[in-house]
Symmetry: C2
Subunit: 478 residues, 2 copies
């Protein structure tokens, strides 16, 4: 048989009456006559019309849900509803059988929980096909956005010897025999004998190394996996997730906010343009899902409306201090509806507070800036008030924090002082401090949790459904 | 001061007589008058002309090699050689001082070995600026190539519970206290208590999970970090490196070779177009380096010629068996010049043999196919001869193997038989075998070691110089 044509291309064809070969997986076979075939290039199936009277019944029997087949035939305009074209089969070949009795997937709606157990097969459903095509577009749009602006994509290390941020628990990386690691005379683990000659772990962020790149190449970004060994069994956390971390020399916090807002709008717009059908499908899926919920828990906007709304509105920018004032005076706070009452300046915001600001008060994405230094990392630039740092968090409806960033502390003395106060070991970070010793400059950057972005754009509710093979406590299957 | 203009944009400006602001790091300051300023957007510097008679001497003293400065002034046509434009400074601000006595870098040629110790600062040299801009272009070109062809970028897991390929030693990932891991009653490590509830390690390849995606989305690729805990202290091996692994449903080995050859040519051409100046610089660098070598060790072609040559020629395709015949009959084999004499069919090829085929016999890239099954992985499709598998290796001049791939064994029975023969645990790979149970189809894919590609395109000799922060035995610095 000749080379196949992808179904997406077939459905956009400008010619009919031509011979084509199409290959894919059977999604349905009705009346021994109509095959709905899908190859993952689009959520739409191509209809294959079978001349069952002149086809071997043994072959017909093998055209089952999930089977892989190859079809050659003529592409013609379809008379059926909802499809422009169909293929009149001249030759059908079974590439791989699929016993309906054994196949874990069924041609009906199956729960997301069930499909998570079958993550190796869930790509074959409409929902997950759409999710992973949208994820693909978002990932590529991130690259496009930064490349168009002359940024250098930098691969920062995955295995590191420093838990620089103190950002939480890390995974150890070792090639010791865990049952019998070498020990020093004092009975301690002898990391000098380990592969890297010291204790190593999986990175929690590429930022510090990213700054090294920015201090020479000006504009860099990372896009790679990061890890947290936190025992969080939530719909918002993964042990392994992908992060995008741009870092820009000479940028201040305003530049940083502009860059982040531009980037978010760019990638959302790209997905809306490129994956219109997938997002339409996911919008309908969410509507169906929300029908099961009580009225007051349903979204005010559909997925599509929510995405469009993000593009059409400037993100609201205000300081943490201003946000605290709004929250203190808010109706839910006064009526004691918040689980964590907002009493005064200095406390970290909870998800319920962020959602109130975004979903109720401003009704659009919000950028909060200038947080108390006590609740932020050591490398954030200190404001003159002695209390706050030039941090920014971007809060999205339904998601909460999607971006966290800051202008960085470029002044060596201030940086070292803060590291001392917070107990960050300066000798381990000698290379980071070097950038403040030799030709330092103001600079800023941020981190975008990629899966949270995918959650937002697909309207899914559980982060385990937007990464192919999620890693979380007690799960590293596949 | 206003927003900066990047130096690359300034040097491509079509206007002069305009006021500009430029920021970067001082590469040279001659005669108290001419600053060479670089911001990493290009290897070229912009010349800043300082009116030293009307500038504060204290400020002039701070314009040292490595200092970060901001300059506002007028862009004018330059009378100097080798530059089209220069900036007449009206205002100079020191953003960050750089004490020449302390700064590890010096304004002269420094050895690659020395710069590897200073990997946090080496981005500021011409050589590493060029390398990492070229690396960036190659990475983006990989994405462009696959996106243009409708592939889905799939993030396969980094932490896995299977060393599926048996590809070599893996790094353990754990959140146990290594000094005191929990044990079972039998005194064995109790991995049920570990974060993921089982023993886990860092992935050596995303291929098997990639196949799961291809069996639904048809065309996928991965681009992510992979790991080998091999104690190899060579110029060709890293413990952490990036791999690109496309996997395509319905492709056979010929399609696979076409895809790989097209991809390599596409990304090399992209870098040649986008990074002409960087590659020109690296070509000169290599020429200088090779002047230190005896005549017979120097390359016959310059870097630029070698890259162009790859674009202009079809890769030579032949079977392993044919290659063995050529090698057996070759002059170096007959004259016993090979360290490992080629005596017969079945042995793995050594680097010297691959280089002979590529550099001496065919004088172009070579694709070898149909290797003996004993020296290849379990998942490669078995040929009818019972001896060989549908493998392919692409061999490049100076690099050796740059791509390894195969058509995959889609027949369940054959696959299981080979797994049994090779001692691959079938129960651990139940999900992989499921793709052969339910709608299997012919498919093929390959892996490209990204750093080997960067080595080839930059003409560098040591793989540690083409990744920002290399990981190898006893080294995880930065």
């Amino acid at each position: 048989m000749s080379q196949r044509t992808k179904i997406k291309a077939l459905l956009e064809s400008e010619q009919t009456g031509i011979d084509v070969t199409v290959k894919g997986w059977v999604r349905a076979f009705r009346q021994n006559r109509f095959i709905a075939l899908n190859d993952g290039s689009t959520n739409n199936n191509i209809q294959i019309v079978v001349d069952f009277e002149n086809t071997d019944p043994a072959l017909l029997k093998r055209i089952t849900f999930g089977a892989a087949i190859s079809v050659s035939g003529e592409l013609i305009p379809s008379l059926g509803q909802g499809q422009k074209f169909e293929v009149i089969a001249k030759e059908i070949e079974i590439l791989g059988d699929c016993d309906p009795e054994e196949f874990p997937l069924q041609p009906k709606r199956q729960t997301l929980e069930f499909l998570r157990e079958k993550a190796h097969l869930r790509f074959r459903t409409n929902t997950f096909g759409a999710i992973f095509r949208v994820r693909n577009s978002l990932a590529f749009a991130v690259h496009l956005f930064f490349q168009e602006r002359g940024f250098v994509y930098l691969h920062t290390p995955i295995i590191t010897a420093s838990d620089a941020e103190g950002a939480g628990e890390t995974f150890h990386v070792t090639n010791f025999d865990l049952a019998n690691p070498p020990k020093t005379e004092n009975g301690e683990i002898d990391f000098k004998e380990d592969f890297f000659g010291k204790a190593t772990n999986l990175t929690v962020s590429g930022q510090l190394e990213g700054e090294l790149g920015a201090m020479a190449l000006s504009d860099i970004y990372t896009f790679g996996p990061t890890f947290r060994a936190e025992n969080s069994n939530t719909t918002r956390h993964l042990a392994e997730f992908w992060m995008i971390e741009p870092e820009v020399a000479f940028n201040n916090l305003d530049d940083n906010m502009d860059l982040a807002e531009d980037m978010l709008k760019y990638v959302i717009k790209y997905a809306l343009d490129k994956n219109a059908e997938d997002i339409e499908f996911l919008t309908q899926r969410l509507l169906e899902e929300e029908k099961q919920k009580p009225q007051q828990e349903r979204s005010e906007m559909s997925l599509l409306e929510k995405l469009q709304f993000c593009l059409d509105n400037d993100f609201e920018r205000l300081t943490y201090t201003e946000a605290i004032e709004i929250l203190k005076e808010s109706t839910p706070n006064k009526k004691k509806k918040f689980q964590y009452p907002v009493e005064g300046w200095g406390t970290d915001l909870q998800s319920e507070h962020e959602r109130y600001l975004v979903e109720k008060h401003f009704k659009k994405p919000v950028i909060l800036t200038d947080y108390p230094k006590e609740i932020k990392a050591f490398y954030m630039r200190q404001n003159d008030d002695g209390q706050t740092v030039r941090a920014m968090d971007i809060l999205f409806p339904g998601i909460g924090e999607i971006v966290g960033g800051s202008q960085r502390e470029e002044r060596l003395e201030k940086l070292e002082q803060r590291m001392d106060e917070m107990g960050i070991p300066k000798d381990e970070l000698w290379w980071y401090l070097d950038t403040r010793r030799f030709g330092a400059c103001p600079h800023a950057g941020f981190g975008l949790g990629f899966e949270r972005l995918v959650l937002f754009v697909t309207g899914m509710g559980n982060i385990r459904d937007v990464i192919p093979f999620p890693r979380y406590p007690k799960n590293a299957e596949f």
